[in-house]
Symmetry: C2
Subunit: 149 residues, 2 copies
């Protein structure tokens, strides 16, 4: 158990009733677990999510992947560069500025392993929720997210 995760002794937490606070702290737990789970593949969560999106949308561009995942163009560049350098993805010019992205065969293999890691990660963290409870949470989060735009 990490230091910061130790249980408080007898202090009250005035934030305990706030949904945003709980969302935030849970998301930290989720990200930490995912980061550790993907470490054997030498993938960061952002890189793994990019591989999954390319696998589902072969020929897409890096700007489009960024829009799907909510990652800025400026932050996509080094992520894509790292995946290219490792030979996990390939680029082919569509026109003078856009380039189609596809997984290499090595990338497809890593992507399959990443999919398994993600599935196990979700099962480990959320498996105790009923399928219905999980779906309800996703639906509620989606509606909240959409209300913001």
């Amino acid at each position: 158990m990490t230091e910061a995760a130790k249980r408080p002794t007898h202090r009250t937490d005035p934030l305990d009733s706030l949904l945003g606070y709980h969302l935030r702290r849970l998301s930290v737990v989720v990200m930490t677990d995912l980061t550790e789970s993907l470490a054997p593949l030498q993938l960061k969560p952002a890189e793994a999510s990019i591989l999954l999106v390319i696998a589902s949308n072969p020929g897409t561009t890096q700007s489009e992947v960024g829009r799907v995942l909510g990652i800025f163009r400026a932050n996509m560049a080094p992520l894509i560069a790292a995946l290219l350098k490792r030979g996990l993805i390939e680029r082919k010019a569509v026109d003078g500025r856009s380039q189609a992205l596809r997984l290499s065969s090595a990338g497809a293999a890593v992507c399959r392993r990443a999919q398994n890691v993600v599935r196990e990660h979700e099962e480990r963290l959320f498996g105790r929720l009923t399928r219905e409870a999980s779906a309800t949470m996703v639906a509620q989060i989606r509606s909240l997210w959409q209300a913001k735009h």
Copy 2:
């Protein structure tokens, strides 16, 4: 609307069914809104949460605040130093190593304003959920979080 928030065109998102993915993205929206809402008080979310915990637990120590909020000792130091420098909190030695923390009168005033900001922030983001739906989500998140320890 920021660049990264633009809606995707027609690409599929293979992560769309994953609860952890939605939790993470919602938590980003929550943190961004809270950060912007607290900016007029010149408080970061972490600083505001520290003020709230001290207000509820006068005389607590900085290590204890860190344990309540899940913040490492090493990261508490500069946060507490900043609040001290601004005169929002006061320190008094308990023994040779621990020091009791309390809000100054200026700190109490800022803390009250922060409480209002947080209330409005939660209402703005989650007000569309019924009281019951919100309580259910908090309860589910709490149970998930506890399962991790």
